[in-house]
Symmetry: D2
Subunit: 288 residues, 4 copies
Amino acid sequence: MAKNTNAAVLLIHCPDRQGILAAVTDFINTNKGNILYLDQWVDKEDGLFFMRVEWSLDDFKIPREKIKEYFDTLIAQRFEMKFFLHFKDEKPRMAIFVSKMQHCLDDILSRYSSGEWNVEIPVIISNHPDLQYIAESHNIPFKLFPLRKDNKTMLEPLEIELLDSLNIDVIVLARYMQVLSEDFINHYPNKIINIHHSTLPAFVGAKPYHQAHDRGVKLIGATCHYVTADLDAGPIIEQDVVHITHKDTIDDLVRKGRDIEKIVFSRGVAKHLDHKVLAFRNRTVVFD
Amino acid sequence: MAKNTNAAVLLIHCPDRQGILAAVTDFINTNKGNILYLDQWVDKEDGLFFMRVEWSLDDFKIPREKIKEYFDTLIAQRFEMKFFLHFKDEKPRMAIFVSKMQHCLDDILSRYSSGEWNVEIPVIISNHPDLQYIAESHNIPFKLFPLRKDNKTMLEPLEIELLDSLNIDVIVLARYMQVLSEDFINHYPNKIINIHHSTLPAFVGAKPYHQAHDRGVKLIGATCHYVTADLDAGPIIEQDVVHITHKDTIDDLVRKGRDIEKIVFSRGVAKHLDHKVLAFRNRTVVFD
Amino acid sequence: MAKNTNAAVLLIHCPDRQGILAAVTDFINTNKGNILYLDQWVDKEDGLFFMRVEWSLDDFKIPREKIKEYFDTLIAQRFEMKFFLHFKDEKPRMAIFVSKMQHCLDDILSRYSSGEWNVEIPVIISNHPDLQYIAESHNIPFKLFPLRKDNKTMLEPLEIELLDSLNIDVIVLARYMQVLSEDFINHYPNKIINIHHSTLPAFVGAKPYHQAHDRGVKLIGATCHYVTADLDAGPIIEQDVVHITHKDTIDDLVRKGRDIEKIVFSRGVAKHLDHKVLAFRNRTVVFD
Amino acid sequence: MAKNTNAAVLLIHCPDRQGILAAVTDFINTNKGNILYLDQWVDKEDGLFFMRVEWSLDDFKIPREKIKEYFDTLIAQRFEMKFFLHFKDEKPRMAIFVSKMQHCLDDILSRYSSGEWNVEIPVIISNHPDLQYIAESHNIPFKLFPLRKDNKTMLEPLEIELLDSLNIDVIVLARYMQVLSEDFINHYPNKIINIHHSTLPAFVGAKPYHQAHDRGVKLIGATCHYVTADLDAGPIIEQDVVHITHKDTIDDLVRKGRDIEKIVFSRGVAKHLDHKVLAFRNRTVVFD
C-alpha cells in the first residue's frame, strides 16, 4: 500500500501511436521529476495504450497544483488521452456499504485500524442496524438508510447527498444486499466496487452458493468488480477460487466462501486505493 | 494409481439407513477379507449413502467369480444398493478420442508408456488423420472415422461396434471436437469422460477462451466431467484454474489453458481408472 | 463448524489390526447410536489405525457421562487405543496469545463474534499492551504478562495458573513473538497451535520474509502447527502459499504474508476446534 | 511463445540512475523502431535498473547486424549496462539432459512437436539408454554419455565439445540425476536450467519427497532454477506447489510431484526461451 511520500501517480489511456511513452517520460524528466515506477501496456487488438507512472515531486519544477493543467495542455490533448492524477500523500476517502454480514467489513476495518491501507473511512452506510456496533467500536459514523425496493428512489438521493458532502472518492459494497439504481451508479463511474460470491460470469445473481451446490462444481470463488448498470457484468478487478468436494454442504460453501470473498475483495480494493486499476469498457488493466 | 494386487474394490450407493456400513464390513470380515481402505459418505440432504471399500482377497473365502453374486444376494438387495465390483489386477480398457490437438493425448500417453496408469489402450479414434503418427509411435491402433454432422448417424454405430468388439470400459475425449449423439452417450452411461476448457458452468459451448477474453476475467480453467446428453452439463469430476491478466491475449489463454486442461483431465481420468468416482444425477462423489 | 447438536465425536488411534472398525461401529450401532460421520485411515507404513466417528446421542443407550468408561473398558483396552471423546454441544475454551500484530487476532475475533466458530474465548494474553483495545471492544478479558527471556521462568507459571483456572482447552499463538518454555509446552501437549510465516521446514526461525527475499523465491507461505519443544518442528496441520515476483519488496511480502497467515491459521484452528485433527509423532491426520 | 516476427528483444541491467529509460526508448524511436513491448523495474534496495524491450525492425534504420555494436557504443557504455540482444525470428538451440524419468522430457517434446515453443532441439543427452526410444520417435539424435562420479572429468569435456559443435544456447536438465561439475557449469553461465522437486530452499539435495513425507508437510512443490556451482542455490525462475494430505504415501507424492514438476519446468524454460528472464546474483527478474 502507498506510503505518504511526496510523489505523483498518473494513470493514462489513449489510442495507441508512436511516441507516447517518450513524450510522457520526457515531460517528467525535463522538469526534474525522478521516476519511481513505470508500467505500460498496449492492447494491440483494440489499439489502446495504457500507462501508470509514479514520480517524486521533491525537485519537480511544476507546482503540484499546476501539474494537471500543464500535463493536459502539453501532453494529453496531443494524444487524446484520458488521464487521472493522484498524489501519494492524499488519502482516498472511502464509504463502506453493508447489510448484515460482517466478514468483509471486519477484514477491511482490520486493515484500516492497523494502518495497512492508506485510506480515510468517514462513514459506514447500511440498510440494517445489525453491524452498527462494529462501526462504533472503530469510531466510524454509521448511517442507517432502511432501503427497500419501494423506497429506493426516495432514499438513494439522500445517500448521494451524504456521500458528496463527505467528498467520498470510492464506495465499497461489503456484501451489501441491495441492487443500486442506475442513477446512483452513474453518479460514481468506476468508483463503486462490489464483491460477488462466484467467479463471474458463472452463477450471476442471487444465491450463487446454492447454484454451485446444485451444479456439483468442485470449485467456488469470488469476484471483485466495478459496479455498472448491467448487474454482475462490470469490469473485473480480481478473482480467485477455493476447492470444494462432494462433502461440502451449502453451509460449508458459505463458510469457505467467506474467506475467499474477503481476500479477493480486499485485494481488489487495495489495487484501487493504490491507483493501480484502469477500467475501460467491461474490462480492467491492473498494474503490478 | 492402483497396484496390481489381489484385491477387490466395491463402490456402493443406496438410500441411507442404519446398519449399511456394519453389514458391508461384516460381509468382508466374516469371510476373512482384510480391509485395505474404506471411505463412506452420507448425503443427508438427499438421504443417500455412498461407500468405497477395498479388501485383500488373499484369504477371502468367497471365490472371486462368486463375489458379485454373493454380495448381491446377501447385502445389496436388502439395502436396495447399486454397486460396482472391480478387481485391482484387472486393467480397465480405455479408448481415446481425439481431433487435431495433441496436448491431452500426449499427456495421457506419457502416463501410459511410463506405467503410471493401470490401463490398456487398445485404440485411438479420430475424425482427422493429424495425430495418427503419435498413435503409431506408441504402437496403438489408430482408427479414422471422418465424422461430421451429416454422417454422424452412419458412422457412430460403426464406432460403437468397434468399441464393443474391443471390450472398452471407458472412453476419454481428449479435446475431441465433435458432439456425440444421444444414442452414443446412452450406450456408455458414466463411461465417457470429457475435458471442457472452462470452469463449467461458465462459458458453456464453443470457444470458451474467446468468451473469457471478451468478458475480461482474471482466471481461466478446465473441467473434467462425464458426458451426458445435456451438453457440458454432466457430472463434474475435477476442476482447476490458472490466473491470467489483462496482458494475456487469446493466444496466451489457449496456451495457458492447455496446461490446466491436460492436468485436470488426467487427474479426473486417473480417479475414474482407480474406481474412485461415483456419479449420481448431475454430481459426483470422488473418494480420496 | 460444528453445530450444537446432541452428538458425540470420537477420535481414535491404535496399532492396526483386523476388526477395529467393526468393533467400534458395532459398539455404536448395538447401543442405538446413529452414525453421522465416519472416516478412518490406516498408515500401512507404520501399522497405525486412525479413526474419527460422530454419532447422534438421541437414542443412545449409554448415558453421556458413562460413554468414556464403557468405551474404554469394552473396546479401547482390547485394541490398545488412545482415544479422545468430545460432545458437539460443548464449546471448547480457547485462550489467544498475541504480541503487537493484530491481523490474526482480528480474523479470529471476526469468526468468533459472527458465530462462525463453536468456541468460548475467556481470555486474551499478551506480552505487550498494544492490542488491549481490541480485546475490550469484544468484551474479552485482556491479561498483560510482560514476558521477556529474563522473567519467563517467573511469569509462565502465573500464566499456567490463570489458564488452568479458566479450564482452557486450547491455546492459539496469534503471532505471539515469544518462545514458550519446554515446561509450558509440556503442560499442554497438542493443545498449543502456532502460525509460522513460512512453509516449514523452509525458513525456520526469525524473519522468514527477509530470508525469502534474500533467497529470491517465487512463493511465500504460512504453516499452522502444534507447538512442541523443538522450535518450528511440531506436527503441521495446514499450509498454503501465495505467489510473489521480483517486484515484491520485503514490505510487500509482509503484507501479502499477513493474508495467507490469517487464512492458514484460521483453517488450522477450525479443524482443531471441530475435533478433526489427530497428532502423532511429528505429523497429523486431518479428517475432512 | 514468441512468433517469428522481424523484431529485436533487448534485455538490460545496469546501475540505476536518471535517464536510462529515456535514452533507450529514444535510441529506438529516433531510428524508426516501433516499440511492441516495454517493461522495466528498479531494484531500489540495490540500486539496479532492469529492462526488457521489444521493437519491430521493419523500418528500423540500423541494420540488424550492426544493432549490437551501435547500442553498445551509443548507450550501453554510457550507463555501464550489461545487455543481451536477441531476434525473434532466431530459434534458440536447446539440449535436453535426461536420465531415466520421462515425464519432463515428454512434456517438453509435446510442446516442441506441436509448435508451441520457438526452439530447436538438436540433441538429447543421457547417462542411461532408457529413454532413447522417445528421442528416436521424435527424430532427435540421442547421445549416451554413461557418466558416473568416477568418469565425470573424462566425459564432461566430450559433452561440452558436442554441445559447442551444435551451437547450443541453453541446456535443460529434465530430471537429470547427475551433479554437473563446476567447470561444466561455468562454461554455460545462466544457460543451464534445472527442475528440483521441492520448493527450494526446503528439502535441498536428494530424495525431497521422502524428506517431505517424513516431515509431515501438507504441500509439495517444484522449483525451476538456473544451475550454479552451489547445489540447489541458483537463481529461481519459477515455483509452484500442490496440496497433499496424510493419506498420501511417498509413491503418491512422487506421482503428484511429477505433474507439478513438469508444469513448473516448462513454465520456467518457456520464460527463458522467450528472453524474459534476467538473472543477477542468486535471483531473477522475470518479465510478464
